[in-house]
Amino acid sequence: MVWFALVVVVLLIGVVVWVISAYNRLVRARVRIDEAWAQIDTQLQRRHDLIPNLVNTVKGYAAHERETFEEVTAARAKAISVQGPADLAEAENGLTQALGKLLAITENYPDLKADQNFRQLQEELAHTENMVAGSRGHYNASVREYDTARQVFPTSVIASSFNFEEREYFEVETVEVRQAPNVSFE
């Protein structure tokens, strides 16, 4: 009888330890997502900060492309105002497209392309786009990891009883802002 009680106690302790560790694993995964999201926020902020400067520089050489400037400015304003992964992704997509148009215009102005300030901005922009892409990749990887932990048995039992909610992925299209490599086909 004493032995039986002892076995039960040991088993109970084992279960409690497992529950705690599974719970902590889920919490850690969720914290990682939040951190990754904060990082995306930082990078998007950086992108938004860069745009007025970029628009002003291009304006100096191509003042009459007003429509494009307005589009970029409006897309930026919208991206700043929305919240939540899905809406934000959509707004950022709009901004990405507007930026793509702006960059396409710059191709027609050789003086602009030679401008030292503009070239520096181009490296800044390429870097920022890569930072956004990198933080997004890490965010999505974190969500995938959390999701797997949430759905795999037996951790799924803990996830559903302690209300670990589903998290959204952050999906956006990307614009190619890399300086095009000069590949020659001789």
Binding site: E35, H127, M131, G134, G137, H138, A141, P181
Partner: protein, 343 residues
């Protein structure tokens, strides 16, 4: 087999190799301690004495390994003459490094970035943990690689940190050092102690003489074989890790093509590093001395290489990312000189 499962397989192989290294080095150290104790005249053939002496000796050896692992990274950095590089001195390099770190989710614990003055394009990572990690690149690498290829190499080094290779490699180097030290003790003892012992055996029992002879033979064997075994372990471990780091880096940046291009470009370059220590050879991105020639010395060097051939690395990457990378396209041109803002 899908790319994902191949990647998982590589990761499992990596963990297996880590265990193999740890168990192998403890075993080698234990055998060496046993032989050294025997040669010193301790009656190690007696089970109680033998086991306890060997256990204590091995524990001391492990403590030595632990201590060596602590100072290893700073020694490696000093041996390569790596200088920490501030952001103002190399803004683009730091930009690229940030892109790698943000993709890996380690912006909070970014490794320190160093530059080594050397025309050979190469790089290495070292450190004890993520919090205490260091990445160094040569000036040759910065000058010759286009932006995204340089980033791929940085990602390869960060992958070594993420895969916990830096600690394992430091441990491997320390093990090789410990075994060399023990072998050295044996050699000294056999040269110095052999003569004295001869005088003693004439007065002592015959059984002692046989044991002495046995340990003389075992000692000789250990002196020859142990360093070799330590090398084999080191190489087996470090070659596997290069494949995995290439794969992790390509996956982190979702840019396997740049990784392939960087490898091909570095393969075409035949500059050897000016300064490197044999002990730190497997820290580098590419084998530090040139081994691609077809003469006898190079073939021998390849057999004992710490790194797999670049061609093999490119092929494995292409298999992992089938259909998305080209291994025969012309390489993009190198960056214009002075464009990196670093000198």
């Amino acid at each position: 087999m899908s790319a994902g499962s191949l990647y998982d397989e590589l990761q499992r192989e990596n963990e297996r190799a880590s265990r193999f290294l740890l168990i192998g080095s403890v075993l080698i150290a234990a055998v060496m301690v046993w032989v050294v104790a025997g040669a010193l005249g301790v009656p190690v053939l007696d089970p109680v004495v033998g086991v306890s002496v060997t256990a204590v000796g091995t524990a001391v050896g492990l403590l030595f390994l632990l201590a060596a692992t602590r100072s290893g990274p700073s020694i490696a950095l000093r041996a390569a003459r790596a200088r920490e590089v501030p952001r103002e001195a190399a803004p683009e390099l730091h930009n690229l490094f940030d892109e790698v770190c943000v993709s890996a989710g380690i912006m909070g614990t970014k490794p320190k970035l160093y530059v080594v003055d050397d025309p050979a394009p190469n790089a290495f990572a070292t450190g004890r943990s993520l919090e205490d990690s260091h990445v160094a690149v040569t000036t040759g690498l910065i000058e010759r690689l286009p932006r995204y290829e340089l980033r791929a190499v940085l990602a390869h080094e960060v992958a070594h940190i993420l895969n916990d290779d830096i600690r394992t490699v430091t441990l491997a180097v320390a093990t090789a050092g410990l075994v060399a030290l023990l072998a050295d003790v044996l050699v000294r003892f056999m040269i110095l102690g052999g003569g004295r012992r001869g005088g003693r055996t004439s007065g002592g029992g015959g059984g002692g003489g046989i044991a002495q002879l046995l340990f003389l033979v075992l000692g000789l064997l250990a002196v020859i074989l142990a360093p070799l075994a330590a090398q084999v372990i080191r190489f087996a471990v470090s070659r596997q890790r290069e494949y995995l780091a290439d794969a992790t880096a390509a996956d982190l940046l979702r840019d396997p093509q740049s990784m392939v291009n960087a490898l091909r470009r570095i393969d075409e370059d035949h500059t050897s590093l000016r300064r490197f220590e044999v002990a730190t050879a497997h820290l580098w991105f590419e084998e530090p001395n040139e081994t691609s020639a077809d003469d006898r010395a190079s073939r021998m060097a390849r057999r004992f290489a710490t790194h797999p051939s670049i061609r093999e690395r490119v092929e494995r990457l292409a298999t992992l990312n089938a259909g998305t990378v080209r291994t025969d396209a012309p390489l993009p041109p190198p960056p214009p000189p002075e464009s990196r803002g670093y000198h």
